[in-house]
Amino acid sequence: MSPAELVTGNEACARAALAAGCRFYGGYPITPSSEIAEFMVSALPDVDGVFIQMEDEIASLAAVIGASLAGMKAMTATSGPGFSLMQEHIGFAAMAEVPCVVVNVMRGGPSTGLPTSPSQGDVMQARWGSHGDRPAIVLAPASVREVFDETVRAFNLAERFRTPVIVLYDEVIGHTAEGVVLPDQVPIEHRARPECNPEDFVAKAAPPDGVPPLPAFGDGYRFHVTGLSHDERGLPSDDGRNAEALAQRLQAKVDARTDELTHIETLGLDDAELAVFGYGIVGRSARAAVETARAEGRKVGLIRPITLWPFPHKEIAAVAEKVDRLIVAEMNLGQLIGEVERAAAGRTEIVGHLRCHGEPITPDDLTAVIGAHDRAPSLEVVGSWAGGVR
């Protein structure tokens, strides 16, 4: 073990990427993520990696995909406006099944928004931002140490599932320095490579787990990669049934392993009558508020998803079954609360605490919300969430 040290979220992200085997970074400057690029440009040459600053975020993810097809683990990092531009290639990477990691250090939106302020306004874009149906793996760490662990996991999941994986945290986590002990060794996974002879290789023939092996360009397997709907050979096909089967396979390879992907922190749910749902930095405030409430003898619990997508429907439903009321706190005007409503399906009352004022939701904020809703129903709710299943 290394000694404890003071590390920011963005530095932890870069160091985790290097530990996980990332050897290519293609990016474009944007606040509040730029420190990741600045760390990578210094560190990559020492590990025989390559860094390039591209002409925009579209090109950044294109270069990352090109590098990944050449066999390198590759990443980019950005914030909201750049994340919007990357949607084109997040979709491409999902369709062509190219492992890559995209880090989005969220800031206030829409548009250029609040460049140096935190937000959680991109959680639905991370799931649905590109056109068409695709699987999504989105990880939402809540602390510097968790940024490290989840970034490592992102690389491993990208390799295991041959799909883009998104690490989503906000400006506060990115810029806050915390005392942490970071591990010297991390678990490392590599994409499956074909074991057959090159002449027998069928590029998109999937084994039972739905993830075809992927050779690197230049390894002697000559194959075609396309964002068009394609057949098993990897060649374009406009056959609708084939297209549907492909879309279903891409979705199923992730969905079928939701349990293995789901990471959740919970606290006090055994006896909770009221629970708080929060993720990222808000989840951390929620934990502090729940601990305070429990110290006062209140029966309050916490549910903090670390994996945002695939969404932990089963776990939310179980909590909804137990508690009288579920407070959903997030730094937007109501995004994941709709998914929570869907999972809860009327089993409990959902209350939103929804802010996009450019400051984190604090433990004190949530202590007040818990206090209000632990006593009596129908007190003031901050934010504009009207309730109901979307």
């Binding site: 002409e55 995909i65 090109g66 990944s68 690197a216 396309t226």
Partner: protein, 289 residues
Amino acid sequence: MTDVKPTSTAPPTADGRGSDATAYLRQWAMPHVLCPGCAHGIVLRSCLEAVGQLGLDPDKVAMVAGIGCSSRLVAYADFCTLHGTHGRAPAFATGLKLARPELHVIVVTGDGDGLAIGGNHLIHAARRNIDITVMMLNNSIYGMTGGQVAPTTREGAIASTAPAGNSERPFDACRLLVGAGASYVARVLAATPIEMTKTLADAMAHSGFAFVEIISDCPEYYGRYNRLGGGAEMLTRMTREGDGVAVALAEKRFVDHVPPSAAPAGLATGVLHREQAPVYGGVRRREVG
């Protein structure tokens, strides 16, 4: 459909006139999508012949394309082939080349793909002098989407989105690329395939960013809308009087250029610019010694 396997590649002949392009052709990917009379197939043949003349190992050749008729060509080449997104091929190719420098990376793009939606990526790849070869097939129009006006459509020409004639000025792609810093710039006609093969081989052998604009044809849309005849007529016309962008470029000349015999008078074809410049390979460990 997994019963048809890729053919093994016998070493192609290198007799100078034309290697056996079929050795590098993915015959199992046929039939192709090109229209009758489209010269893009001639261009693919020249490209594969050029690879053969250079004796490149097909396992070490990667072709990267964007979106459009020209970009569909890469699926028929028996290399590692990447059919990316509209206009972004130079960016995909940049990542690929930096991550695996021993690959010979050839980008195939069109005039809409390369100059409109992908113009930014093209000029920045040129500026960095990434060691790749870009073949830009210029047929003066958006073919795949049905004949819309392109940044290369000459003034006055008819397109589906310029029904009264185009009133925008076209790009001179070669001048643009010289200005952007490309270390090799050439223009050839699809109607002169032997010249084209030689130029493509020359471009592929160049160390640094090599750009070859290939004047191709689109009889289905550009030819039909502008009453230029079928493929054969368009190619014949191309060698005599220029066609499409060629006409628009006829008055622009590069001072250091020697036009090859088959080029129409005044049209700047051949190698228009060549320099030795440092190749960019990203920020990486410096070679020792």
